[in-house]
């Protein structure tokens, strides 16, 4: 039998969750060791004898076996999960309690609690995401580093610090805890960030980017499976992820270069994800509050439903941006709104909208600020100004992918302002 893609990685999060329930979160490292051990055994046996019919059950049995061993050997020396101590002490109850921890409903609950625990307010957001990727998604430190274009050492530091915070909490977050509402909002924010990290990732490897987006969607879907966390805002978040992820295959062109929305080949958008996103957005609309996720998802839905840039309902998009701007005043949102205004009312109106951004100085390091000006100058026929703006944008590029994209735009502007002399007839 063939193993599915990322099988071990997926199972890693599940097994760690089950084992953490038994051992207690202060023994997270022990839980990880047991999982590692089960993986090593699987690796050794399967590579020679072949993958068993039910690899997930095989792994779980190996982890269960090791867990029983560990508890029997160390129950006098170590404290395990305080709520379970009584059950772990007696041979009569040990096996049933361990078995219960490996049932899928318990695993899902524990994964949710782990996700909430990873989003502890004392941890900076990038540490929260690194921790989620490591503990819940089974990413190794170097894989997280590759995805974030940071050093392995920096990621390891973040993860270590995060795990210390988890261990100090002594128990996992409980969904009935007082600050549930605030923590749920942090969880959504972290998943949103994780998704964006994938969507806007500087990595030119489509696979790396898609994996982060997939993981964000998978974890958000887990929130939707539990009543307490399945709020309208969570549905909206899931909707916006699906609608954006649908465009991912078209964001890089055949040469692996960034392709902006107007240039994207819309036939490469993922129809199934669009449909799923639209259905989720429908479900998100049952509440009375429209969150920023709702508005962003609605904007993405308008794009998803438009066969071309020209036929896009820019009225609707500008209006949605207006509402988004009221909810989360941010110069980046204002810039996106200005671009939409330009599509609706022409480049001069767009440039006026850009000039009207109140806190534009916060965009001074953002390459797509001068790039947007360049696009609009180009469109109104001032290729020289456009070239100057693109040159500034190139100077701000944060990675090779952005640089190549902006240099291409710069060349376009330059050839428009100094057309090459016509060759001999």
């Amino acid at each position: 039998m063939e193993l599915g893609d990322h099988f071990f990685r997926r199972e890693s999060g599940r097994l760690v969750a089950a084992l953490t329930r038994i051992f207690g979160v202060h023994n997270l490292a022990l839980a990880e060791d047991v999982v590692q051990d089960a993986f090593c055994r699987a690796l050794e046996v399967w590579k020679v004898r072949g993958v068993p019919d039910n690899p997930a059950a095989w792994l779980m049995a190996a982890a269960r076996h090791r867990a029983l061993d560990v508890v029997r050997r160390e129950r006098t020396a170590r404290t395990f999960a305080p709520e379970l101590t009584r059950w772990l002490e007696s041979e009569w109850t040990l096996a049933p309690v361990v078995d219960e921890s490996f049932t899928s409903a318990v695993i899902r609950d524990e994964q949710l609690r782990m996700m909430f625990s990873c989003c502890h307010p004392s941890l900076p957001e990038e540490a929260q995401i690194a921790l989620i990727l490591n503990v819940l998604c089974g990413f190794g430190a170097s894989e997280v580093a590759t995805a974030f274009l940071t050093s392995r050492a920096a990621v390891e530091k973040r993860i270590t610090r995060g795990k210390k915070a988890l261990a100090n909490a002594e128990r996992l977050f409980d969904l009935s805890d007082d600050d549930f509402g605030a923590r749920l909002a942090s969880v959504r924010a972290a998943l949103y960030l994780l998704f964006n990290e994938g969507y806007h990732s500087a990595s030119s490897e489509t696979a790396v980017r898609a994996e982060l987006c997939d993981e964000a969607i998978r974890l958000t879907s887990m929130l939707l499976e539990t009543e307490a966390t399945a709020e309208p805002a969570t549905f909206a978040l899931a909707a916006l992820m699906c609608l954006h992820a649908a465009r991912l295959p078209a964001r890089l062109d055949a040469h692996g270069d960034l392709s902006s929305l107007p240039d994207q080949d819309r036939s490469r958008w993922n129809r199934a994800l669009i449909d799923r996103g639209l259905a989720l957005l429908e479900q998100a609309s049952c509440g009375s509050v429209a969150t920023a996720y709702h508005l962003e998802a609605a904007i993405a839905a308008v794009h998803a439903g438009s066969p071309s840039i020209a036929s896009t309902n820019w009225d609707a998009i500008v209006e949605l941006y207006d509402r988004l701007l009221k909810l989360t005043p941010s110069p980046v949102v204002a810039l996106n709104r200005a671009v939409a205004v330009a599509q609706r009312d022409g480049p001069d109106a767009g440039l006026a909208a850009i000039r009207a951004i109140p806190d534009a100085d916060r965009l001074r390091d953002y390459p797509f600020y001068p790039a947007a000006i360049g696009e609009l100058e180009l469109r109104r026929g001032d290729a020289a100004s456009a070239a100057r703006a693109f040159a500034a944008a190139v100077g701000l590029a944060r990675n090779p992918l952005e640089r190549r994209f902006l240099e291409r735009r710069l060349r376009t502007a330059e050839t428009t302002s100094h057309p090459a002399p016509a060759g001999p007839a």
């Binding site: 199972e11 590692q36 993986f39 050794e44 089974g138 990413f139 430190a141």
Partner: protein
């Protein structure tokens, strides 16, 4: 055709679940290719890295490990090849060499007559 035993040594835990899965995949691909070409008589088994050692007239029993980690045999495969040279060439594709201390020992099976 003659028979040979491959003895695998060297072990490094995977750096991540994904790393482990990819490594396993490479082993399976390699063994499948050998099997498809009719060289695998028995894929063999991985061996636990711990055990007992009985030695001497006194039958002294010692606990494993018997050797340094890198010298412990991790598994074996029974291979058929034309001669030692071919068996050696076939072994060179083994993914165990991705590990710094990974080795394959190739031993001809002794035949009667």
């Amino acid at each position: 055709m003659a028979e040979f035993v491959y003895l695998y040594r060297g072990n490094r835990p995977p750096q991540s679940p994904e790393d482990g899965q990819q490594r396993m995949q490479r082993w399976m691909t390699w063994l499948k290719e050998l099997t498809d070409r009719g060289h695998v008589k028995d894929p063999g088994h991985p061996l636990e890295r711990s055990g007992k050692l009985v030695s001497g007239k006194a039958r002294t029993v010692t606990d494993a490990p018997f050797a340094e980690a890198k010298d412990v045999i991790g598994g074996y495969t029974l291979v058929e090849a034309a001669d030692l040279a071919q068996a050696t060439t076939l072994a060179s594709g083994c993914p165990i060499f991705e590990i710094a201390e990974g080795t394959v020992e190739i031993r001809p099976v002794m035949r009667m007559g």
